[in-house]
Assembly symmetry: C2
Homo-oligomer: 475 residues x 2
Amino acid sequence: MTEPTSSGPSALKGWLVFGAVLVAVLITGLLLASIMERRAEAAQGQRVLQPIKAWESDSSKWAVNWPREHASWKQTEQKDTKTKYGGSHQYDLLADVPANVILFAGYPFSVDYKQARGHQYAVKDVTDSGRNIMTKPGTCWTCKSPDVPRLMAEMGPAKFYDTPAKDLIPEITHNIGCADCHDPNTMALAISRPALIEAFERQGKDIKSVSHQEMRSLVCAQCHVEYYFKKDEAKGEKAYLTFPWDKGTGVEEMDAYYDEKQFSDWTHPISGAKMVKMQHPDYEVYSKGIHAYRNVSCADCHMPYKTEGGQKFTDHHVQSPLLNISNSCAVCHRWGEEEIKSRVESIQDKIVHGRAIAEDALCKAHFDIAACKQAGATDEELAEVRKLVRKAQLRWDYVAANNGLGFHAPQECQRILADAADLAQQTRVACVRLLAKKGVSDPVIYPDWSSKQKAQDLIKLFGKDATPPKLIAGK
Amino acid sequence: MTEPTSSGPSALKGWLVFGAVLVAVLITGLLLASIMERRAEAAQGQRVLQPIKAWESDSSKWAVNWPREHASWKQTEQKDTKTKYGGSHQYDLLADVPANVILFAGYPFSVDYKQARGHQYAVKDVTDSGRNIMTKPGTCWTCKSPDVPRLMAEMGPAKFYDTPAKDLIPEITHNIGCADCHDPNTMALAISRPALIEAFERQGKDIKSVSHQEMRSLVCAQCHVEYYFKKDEAKGEKAYLTFPWDKGTGVEEMDAYYDEKQFSDWTHPISGAKMVKMQHPDYEVYSKGIHAYRNVSCADCHMPYKTEGGQKFTDHHVQSPLLNISNSCAVCHRWGEEEIKSRVESIQDKIVHGRAIAEDALCKAHFDIAACKQAGATDEELAEVRKLVRKAQLRWDYVAANNGLGFHAPQECQRILADAADLAQQTRVACVRLLAKKGVSDPVIYPDWSSKQKAQDLIKLFGKDATPPKLIAGK
């Protein structure tokens, strides 16, 4: 047996322990340093805030206090992101779906209708729009710039709405930014536009009593809603921005509201029906869906939290969640990005299917009414079918015009599209019967609207002093 | 200062500790006893299994080995459970939706059509059915009893299908039970009916290679599917049970299959259209939905795991998950039972809405075709509209006939119902045009089918030697 000595394996073990302790101390030191650094970064967030003046419309002035939010907000400049049905790429919705040209004939959306892009393009896109928006009232500026609340504070909303859009151009220079949604003193979320506040009031609700989480959707609902330009001669109003929410935000309730007001945006030159253009009832559709039911706000998906240098903040690069799946959807839905994308697209594909059925029936319905007119039907005889096609198209547009292609409330949107197609077909049944009364039994001769160009050329033939194509044989 | 003594607070503390130890020992003893008892119960589950003979159709013979499964299976006797749209209560689907009478005119479903109830009633309900099923081929017995695989083993499937149902009554005495889904030797899930195996083979798939989890749906898919009675004179087949899956299990694929086979179940006496009755394409619809996508099987929701006396086993009380939410839905969806129920019903409400639109359009389409006939249209002239109404109704029925009211694949079902309504309305447009060709421009005079009785009286008028009501004025 060998006796253990101090220079044997026992001494080696001692050195090993000593070495391990050294390494552990080193690692602890590095960790502590890293933690200190992050604390220091975080402390920057607690800097003394610089005062921002009321109605400051220049977002770069807010950047001194909120550099990370400002930097991410700037990213809404991106203009080439694409999802299957959206993104910031300006898809031409008339080329993609030429039926849009027919359905909006006689209305500027038949001339120019593009997928909206980032907030950084708000001023440019409304000024340059092929819809000639600068020939319209100031109301059209309402959602485009933080200069608007400043001007409204100076002029009052009614006067702002009443000023020609063109005359406001010099005053409106900043794109949608900080002042649109935030109080400059407290940085609290704040409603800067009167229409939403007024809509709440008319429904007997106080917008000041809502929760912070609700505000994370309601600041968006200032603009991402259906609205119309209310005229009230008695009050001297010409285009007072109003949300048609008095009976509720469902499509049937808005339809009833517009019927009661006998409101229409334009008269359709093919059918002669008095139409309503739905704008982008994003908030209304969202509020019928599962995400709203689970109290998930707009910001939760479109402006998810982000971390930089130990700081958690809200990503102000507002965009499709499909362009930022890992920070958005995947926070709750723990699947792979490709899988999430394919789930969303499979939902949107079904909406597109239902939308296409409705579009085909609607286009034919407008031409069927025109055919009745050519066969000698009177306005009185056409009153019922014109009402029907208005109701059908309003429903279709409630889904078609909203962002997200029905994803915000898929089942509700599918229900509405089925109703739209059914009502459009009911219009057609009634038209064919009317044609029979006028002695016409041959099928309506539908013209070709299979491309944007063909459709745009076609609707010109239904303009003033133009000769429409013959829709019934022999007449 | 008082010195501590052994009879002071320190002694009291000692007694307290002693007492606490006693209590702890007692509790430990009780826990151990409980664990031992559970082990003993669990050990019962590991009893030596008694042999069960091949094709044993009497489920009570299996009970010796599987007492808990057998006891829960017996509970499918319950006949009074109700959900908003289902349960084991035998809703009268003709009274609830009189349009069913019109749509199935000339077919036994217009006489008697009830919500199915528990497996324990399979033999009784098929024997007593107002659809006179005992006058039909043996094929009608296929899904009703574990005596069927026994008889098929003896006779061969073809001969079984070919024997009149009535002649098999003495042999078929046991309700759907153990032998329908299990191998008696291994208790493994097993396919006992040839139609599913043959459908797999025709698609080039081997049903033996599927996973256990897939089997937990496929044993159900032996019966809960769309099927038809294939006739093949060359093979001497009169009613060979066949799944129309060769092109796929989607509704468009089945439609194409039936068109190619020029198959129809009956000729509709009102429209003269050659119709297909969809049975209950539960598996097909399920396979298009999110639960199937997530690999949740039929059994996971309809036969969730259950624990009794320390034993976990599959609850064989097959029923609507809405009657067992806490063990079924709530295992994954951690919400309150009322909330889960209301979510499911809000989905089903939208399906019922889409179904009602389709039903109204379909009933009118059948009468519109009848009106054309009354106006003198020939079979040749009616060929197109009859094809259209067949396609429309097949789609509607794919959704309407399946259990769960579309819940198994809500978006797919809404898509299909929208198509059904649209196709039915296209039928109507074509009919009105045909009426015009025959000089009829007045609206079709729709008779009243607003109750089961009225609807059943009405369809009799379209029977042989009866005089149908006048559907067009003056004729």
